[in-house]
Symmetry: C2
Subunit: 337 residues, 2 copies
């Protein structure tokens, strides 16, 4: 466990010169530079991160907040963010809030204690007023999730449009009884999708039926549960818009089990364009989200904000969504015709 002092001693030089070599500063003669590098190799010396962080007042670490990493959308986001961060020389710390405001707030202390240089929030469980004060300690960037009151850079997707095109597509297939099945009361992502959903309905003179609304569906099991509930309704829907491909897959598998034909008896549209949409039979119509691009942008921005130290400003970067039509909404005969 050698220190810079050991290298200095071995070379007969000062800590300063060794430090200059490490950091590629100018004004070090070629022979001393070589001497130092040699000594560093010999000792297996490598600078101590904590000391560096303390002195430089930065850690080169970013925290990424997600609710759960096993949600495929978020694991994709984590993967892309990690790669983008590494490209910028940053390490990524993963914070799983598990939808708990307390956990989220607790993890925010990473910023306060200066363990990370910045935070990317891909999930927001607290009122913004609780998060805001942490801006005193470093930049916060919203990614995917968003919030009107937040005066910070935000990278998001056009969720209203996503809800709109998916619903419009269902309406165009002739459906009038369309269920809405998303997750998250708090999330503005879900809220926006509902706005788009409602917009498509009203544009076609259809009204939103609260009996068809399920707002607590996140995963496969939820999808299954929702299907069970749906079919007990007096006048069950013939189509369902969902907030994730997992929920869609859950509904689809349960529908199949009950002898429902998809899309003939029930049309289903997912969200996220995960691998599973192409595995299911029928393949699931979904909305593609450019996760990689979004993650990349979020990292670019937080890196920039860490450097510029000016991050109390709202800047919105929005990426488009795209409907991917597959078999779960269009009967095969029609599709081929």
């Amino acid at each position: 466990m050698s220190t810079i002092e050991d290298v200095a001693k071995l070379t007969g030089l000062s800590r300063t010169t060794v430090s200059r070599v490490i950091n590629n500063h100018p004004y070090v003669s070629e022979d001393k530079r070589k001497l130092v590098i040699e000594a560093m190799n010999k000792l297996g010396y490598v600078p101590n991160s904590s000391a560096r962080s303390l002195r430089n007042q930065k850690t080169d670490v970013i925290a990424l907040f997600v609710p759960r990493i096993t949600n495929p959308f978020f694991s994709q986001l984590v993967e892309s963010t990690e790669i983008a961060a590494a490209d910028h020389g940053y390490q990524l710390i993963i914070c799983q809030t598990r939808y708990s405001p307390e956990k989220e707030l607790n993890y925010m202390n990473l910023l306060k204690t200066k363990q990370v240089d910045g935070v990317i929030l891909a999930s927001l469980q607290n009122d913004w007023e609780k998060i805001e004060p942490f801006l005193d300690y470093g930049p916060i960037v919203l990614c995917n999730e968003f919030e009107d009151r937040a005066n910070v850079p935000t990278v998001k997707l056009d969720q209203v449009y996503g809800g709109y095109i998916a619903t419009k597509h269902l309406i165009e297939q002739g459906h009038t009884k369309i269920a809405y099945c998303c997750g998250g009361y708090r999330s503005n992502v879900a809220k926006s999708r509902e706005i788009g959903f409602r917009q498509a309905l009203s544009e076609h003179k259809l009204s939103f039926d609260e009996r068809y609304a399920f707002r607590d569906a996140f995963n496969i099991a939820d999808g299954k549960r929702v299907f069970q509930k749906m079919i007990t309704l007096p006048d069950p829907p013939t189509a369902v818009f969902t907030g994730s491909d997992e929920v869609a897959a859950g509904i689809l598998s349960e529908a199949r089990k009950h002898g429902y034909r998809v899309p003939e008896d029930l049309a289903i549209v997912g969200f996220d364009n995960q691998a599973i949409t192409e595995l299911m039979d029928p393949m699931i119509t979904t909305v593609h989200q450019p996760v990689k691009e979004m993650a990349q942008k979020a990292v670019d921005i937080i890196v920039e904000k860490i450097q510029s130290r000016k991050y109390r400003k709202k800047e919105i970067y929005e990426f488009p969504l795209q409907l991917i039509v597959r078999e779960s909404t269009v009967s095969k005969k029609l599709a081929k015709a």
Copy 2:
């Protein structure tokens, strides 16, 4: 950005006493303690992590190495590890090696630079000789992946047994032409499964057919590709053992597309017991891996080793695997009978 010095000044006490309050040391009078806590709240003071790490020679951060986080097996592992680490007061840094030895080696420097207190390797891309020297700088624990030459604690699953029971099950269904389809030449996990696979074969006087062996299948697309290849063989297999549920699902979906009946024309067994196995039609027979327990144990151990500083010792902790029989290997009629 207040420091301990600010708190000291505000209270008229010394840094020492403030530090004692922060760290719950004895011998601080109750009134001073209250005074300090009050001042800390007033200033919004919170101790600086870097300074603490430097002084305490520990960071309370662990690194977890995985090839790719989007692989559901690994995202499950990451989730469980993160939770277990948090329970112990540790933060988790995610390192995606993307199957690259260089990236892996590069990430190992986190240990050398003391940015993390220990490393959990759930993936191993380098020869152990390359990793071994890093033991000078902190504990390394193998988790899931393993290596004979590694003199470190290892938490693993009985992969030989996993390969064995899955294959035996296929043989018991009457299959004699069984394909082997796993990923990773380097990985001992894959090698062990192949040993179990061969063992089951030879116990039933069947011989391993190299033409039926595919050793580069990791994901859904690979599964699809393998199916295509398989059916072009002169005497194609009637069953296939795979190294992951994604590969199995890929094969299954492609088989369906080609009009193959599963399991009648082709029986398929997966590995991991991911959610997808219950979504596919037919549902996929698979091998359950106790990921959570394994992750938990790995964290327990690394935390212990960080404290005890004695970690150059081989200790093997092995968890059992379990065959989950579903429809992709047993025809429905038979299953109900």
